[in-house]
């Protein structure tokens, strides 16, 4: 359980970091909070010859208001999602996601962006980011580009970043006024990675569902949106028949893994149940919001 020897680089700025990545390319790996990377290094699942540690890049630690959005720098720790006023006001679903995740001791070091980049199929933040329509800013010496999280993943733990790219920021659009939200999951113990989970956002216009976003985790190779389920709900009034129809659609459309933690069949059953629970909770919150 000891990492292989590597060259350790500690850039102080984004410019230095992208220069290192340009120099070493696919030999290099980025170290953010290390809460996934360090276990992979210790188990020698990852054997980079160069490690670019971004933790001392002071300019990447921030949570700030952007145009109708909350921008979070890539060295910002997950724990801040739980105590930041701007997050509580504009994207409260992020604080709910944090409550389902790991433990404070992990969140004190793990970064918001690191979790999204790592892309564990069972992780909460990628799904919530997709439901919110979040975007990543990736930079390299060639320039910067914006990548919607919904288009970021390519299968298990794979994403479309080039070896010389660093994600500097994630941008979460502010939730609509009166929008209800929910993140629910089933895990063996609180704080373990989820067997399956569903995140949803729901807003009403009068009695009808006007805006709905549903994304799932632990139910495929990566977190993803459930667009067909959303279409069934949009413009409708709520009813238990409708929820059951949506739940069975979700259950039959997801492609969960079959592993030592749970069978695919069990995960499909969870998908149906969790979709309903998540919608109920989001709708409850939307109605409370409208009442207050």
């Amino acid at each position: 359980m000891k990492p292989v020897a590597f060259k350790y680089l500690k850039p102080a700025t984004v410019e230095e970091a992208t220069a290192f990545l340009a120099e070493y390319g696919s030999e290099a790996k980025i170290l953010a909070g290390g809460q996934s990377m360090m276990p992979m290094l210790s188990m020698r699942i990852a054997r980079p010859s160069v490690l670019v540690d971004i933790n001392e890049i002071a300019e990447l630690t921030y949570i700030r208001a952007a145009d109708d959005a909350v921008a979070i720098g890539s060295v910002t720790r997950q724990r801040r999602l739980g105590d930041d006023d701007l997050v509580a006001e504009q994207v409260p679903v992020l604080a709910s996601a944090l409550k389902c995740m790991s433990h404070p001791q992990i969140q004190n070091r793990g970064t918001v962006v690191g979790s999204i980049c790592h892309g564990d199929p069972a992780a909460e933040l990628p799904a919530v980011a997709i439901a919110l329509g979040a975007e990543l800013t990736a930079c390299s010496q060639a320039g910067t580009r914006t990548i919607p999280v919904a288009e970021f993943y390519r299968g298990y733990y794979r994403n479309i970043l080039e070896p010389d790219e660093l994600v500097s920021e994630v941008n979460f659009p502010a939730m609509l006024p009166g929008c209800g939200w929910s993140v629910v999951e089933i895990s063996r113990r609180h704080g373990d990675l989820a067997l399956a989970g569903v995140a949803s956002l729901v807003a009403f216009a009068g009695e009808e569902i006007d805006h709905v976003r549903i994304a799932c985790f632990g139910l495929g190779k990566a977190a993803h949106r459930l667009v067909d389920a959303e279409s069934l709900l949009k413009g409708q009034r709520t009813s238990s028949e409708l929820f059951q129809e949506v739940a069975s659609l979700v259950s039959s459309s997801v492609k969960p893994m079959d592993d030592s933690h749970a069978s695919a069949e069990y995960r499909r059953a969870l998908a149906a149940e969790l979709t309903q629970r998540s919608l109920f909770e989001a709708i409850e919150r939307a109605k409370q919001g409208a009442a207050s």
Binding site: A5, P39, M43, R109, G191
Partner: protein
């Protein structure tokens, strides 16, 4: 720019339990190994070495973190506290007293990490709810106690610190 020319070692300056020291460490050495081997703070227990058990938990700039998931080189310029910082000579810290009083430990392997996590909780939040205590304890595995005595120990520690 901070480039390490030699693959193997790098100079770091770390404050461990209030004492600043400079030393050479290999890039791949974990903070847990450096603390045990170079600083002889063997209260830093190493159980799983991949972040799950919590026995290696230390305070890094005051916040509880896994020492097995940090590199020694990352401690450069930072302040580390281990369980060895808690007692004052032979006088135990209130949290340690409370664990002793309420039988919050049996083998003790998990205890150092738990006490450090609890010390940060009680500093931030002197009158924690049970839910807040559970949240912190969730980050630590204990194979002996069944957690109930630990919960009672934390409650007693909170009372003792409030009375101080």
């Amino acid at each position: 720019m901070n480039v390490q020319s030699d693959l193997d070692s790098r100079q770091v300056t770390v404050t461990v339990n209030g004492k600043q020291e400079s030393l050479e460490v290999e890039g791949r050495t974990t903070l847990a190994d450096m603390l045990r081997q170079e600083f002889h703070t063997q209260g830093v227990r190493v159980g799983c070495e991949h972040g799950v058990c919590g026995s290696c938990t230390i305070l890094f700039d005051g916040e509880p973190m896994r020492a097995c998931l940090l590199l020694a080189v990352q401690a450069d310029g930072h302040e580390i506290k281990t369980i060895e910082s808690m007692a004052d000579g032979n006088k135990l810290h209130e949290i340690q007293e409370a664990f002793s009083e309420k039988h919050g430990l049996q083998c003790g392997f998990c205890t150092a990490g738990i006490i450090l996590s609890v010390s940060e909780l009680l500093e931030r939040c002197p009158e924690p709810t049970d839910e807040q205590i559970y949240e912190i304890l969730g980050g630590h595995l204990c194979r002996c106690t069944g957690y109930q005595q630990i919960l009672q120990s934390v409650r007693l520690a909170a009372d003792m610190l409030l009375e101080k």
